[in-house]
Amino acid sequence: MELFSEIYNCYYNVITKILNTCSNTPISKEDISKIIKNNAFCESAFYIFPKLIGGDWNLITKDKEKFISKLKGTIKRPVTLLEKSWLKSIIQDKRISLFLKDEQIRVLDEYLSDIEPLFNVNDFYNYDIFSDGDDYENPEYIRNFRSILYAFKSKQAVTISFESSKGNRITGNYIPMKIEYSNKNDKFRVHTFRIYHGKIRNTEIINIGRVKNVQASKESFNFSLNIDIYEKINKCKEPVVIEISDERNALERCMLNFASFQKHTEYHKDTEKYITHIYYDMKDETELLIRILSFGPVIKVLGPDRFLNILKKRIKRQVELMEI
């Protein structure tokens, strides 16, 4: 069982797609180019095209000006032992109940009965995960999760009742825009557009663990759903700019800690400083602030002013508390 094997190579997948497309009907060079462009790496066409068309791989044949597969019919690779072994591991995970019913898990488990799991979830110790993660085995949670998943997939609005962080019950009509999972929080959240009379009122993020009820909504809408627009609404206008000192291995710690953000870092030879620009979602501003504070004086915030002022306010309060 090899993890790094040509069986999973993207070229094999692209060639499978090409061969299955021209199994009965010949396709043009342009069609082949298009499949490669959409499914392989940027430069792959330079390597695949001559081998495939030139005959080195002897998989297609010319049919007038087009190409047809030499294979008897369409093909599909069976699930490998490595893949089965991985599947066996993931069905041990408690979150699998969100997707598969008990009976489906049992059938799959039975099918994989002679397969060793690739890993055991207990071999991992997530030492800094938050302790108030979602209750994945709660039937009400599972029902709500599935209803939201269904609404997302079918692009329908739903009426969601949930408890806000302040304990208030809120009910509204929402279009699920994206379903997000956080490892750190061990929670699912649904990002939504709240709608009223078919028009978007605002964006809202709802913790699925706080949802009490999900029902089909009477609201309808006639605009197209675009995740890019949703992301753009919430993106910061200016990145947070930080200066990282070279002591206490701060550079390495910072780079890895902020690796999940879109960022870029510059080293300024003249000042011997590292400057990082971090782009973030406005709704995550407090979290970013907390993470920056956790580094202490090895990070200096340079801007923007609004962010810097929030940080200064915190430090000022700290200075007052400790009378330093």
Binding site: F4, Y8, Y11, C42, K72, W86, S260, T265, S294, K300
Partner: protein, 413 residues
């Protein structure tokens, strides 16, 4: 001069470049001194090809920096998986892959001579029997083909295990794969399955997701094998901070994962030093699996008993096991969420109200220095700390003074 190939034979060679481009991103060509500049150029070109739009460039100090820029919460598939899907192959490999799949989809139980002859007749490419046998054997090992012996001959057929036959609701398993391909260990395997199903994740996004972990998966797989078989290991450990290469041996017991700092470690018991030590997976270069450890369960139990006192990955030094205390000011009318934060992030520490708006958090910890990052995240609400370690206390108070000087410039008005 050898022609450039987009595909790679060796995963380890590109691993460090990929990590540097993603995690750091400020290095220019002249900073990559470990290997030749030609190697740098080739690896950079490959990464540019694999990652396309995620590659960005910067011009600083007159030098061009190449880096990978992505917001991991806005991508649905880990772009770094592409390197796993770039293993090189020969012309024979790819031809035999498709020929064997084609023939055995429509016919079954063929011996190696029959397979070799059919390939020659049907496609006009003739291989020697041994070449076909080697590929068929390899595919049996991978689970793509089945083999059975009848008399003295081995007959091959295609495995009938397709995703659709494994479960009775195909759409549900696809949804699960779209989730687990990102969050499960070895998620790239989920991505392999989705590729084979001509599908991809169009549902889930992942926050606090460290896509770079995939680059450690080869090392991780070896370590987990050893854990499963209760064996000792040795490995090469190379930290970028040190010029020394360390050869480490011990009993691997658990994988420690930080969902906040982005680091993963293997916890090993070092018999010679008689202590538990954690090593970062991204610094491990190669792993050798050694003999079975007969005391394995004893060390594992010992570790489990100690976990409660680890804040992170340190088991402390000789003066370990101090009770850490922090006194917080929390405005009970407006800041109850701070108490929730302490409870959910405090890793089973105790929180006690001692006065109006005053709370004390305490926990016994092996190495109190490790908790300080978390404590500093409450800047603005910390009244005092007592770590039982003079160095830790002094550094905290000095850090707060430095923060004041750095951001307030001595002016608190």
């Amino acid at each position: 001069m050898k022609n450039f190939s987009e595909l790679i034979k060796n995963f380890d060679k590109i691993r460090d470049y990929m990590r540097d481009f993603f995690v750091y991103g400020f290095k220019s060509r002249s900073n990559f001194t470990e290997k030749s500049l030609r190697t740098y150029d080739n690896e950079k070109r490959r990464i540019e090809s694999y990652l396309g739009d995620c590659i960005k460039y910067n011009n600083i100090n007159g030098e061009k920096n190449t880096f990978i820029s992505l917001d991991s919460s806005s991508v649905t598939e880990n772009p770094l998986y592409s390197v796993w899907k770039a293993k090189s192959f020969t012309n024979n490999d790819i031809m035999l892959h498709f020929y064997l799949l084609d023939i055995l989809t429509y016919e079954s139980l063929l011996d190696i001579e029959q397979l070799t002859n059919k390939i020659c007749e049907r496609y006009g490419t003739c291989f020697d029997t041994q070449t076909v046998r080697n590929k068929a054997k390899e595919y049996v090992k991978e689970g793509i083909l089945n083999s059975c012996k009848q008399g003295r001959k081995l007959y091959y057929s295609l495995s009938r295990d397709f995703l659709k036959t494994l479960v009775n609701n195909y759409d549900d398993i696809l949804d699960a794969l779209k989730y687990y391909q990102a969050i499960a260990p070895f998620g790239v395997i989920g991505s392999y399955i989705l590729d084979n199903e001509q599908n991809k994740n169009d549902i889930f996004h992942f926050k606090h997701h460290f896509v770079v972990h995939t680059l450690e998966d080869k090392v991780l797989l070896e370590i987990l094998k050893a854990i499963q078989e209760k064996r000792e290991i040795n490995f090469i450990n190379k930290s970028p901070r040190s010029e020394y290469i360390l050869k480490v041996s011990g009993i691997p017991l658990k994988i420690f994962v930080s969902n906040q700092t982005g680091r993963r470690y293997v916890n090993i018991y070092n018999k010679r030093r008689k202590r538990f030590v954690n090593y970062r997976l991204d610094y491990i270069k190669s792993v050798n699996i050694l003999d079975i450890c007969i005391e394995y369960d004893f060390f594992k139990q010992k570790l489990e008993k100690n976990l409660d006192k680890c804040w992170g990955v340190s088991f402390g030094n000789s003066i370990r096991g101090k009770t850490f205390c922090a006194k917080f000011y929390v405005d009970e009318e407006r800041e109850l969420y701070i108490l929730d934060r302490i409870k959910k992030e405090g890793r089973k520490g105790t929180l006690k109200k001692v006065d109006k708006n005053i709370y004390i958090y305490s926990k016994e910890i092996f190495d109190t220095n490790e908790i300080m990052s978390w404590i500093k995240s409450f800047t603005g609400r910390i009244i005092s700390i007592e770590s039982g370690d003079k160095f830790v206390d002094e550094r905290f108070y000095s850090d707060m003074k430095k923060m004041k000087e750095m951001h307030l410039g001595g002016d608190t008005d």
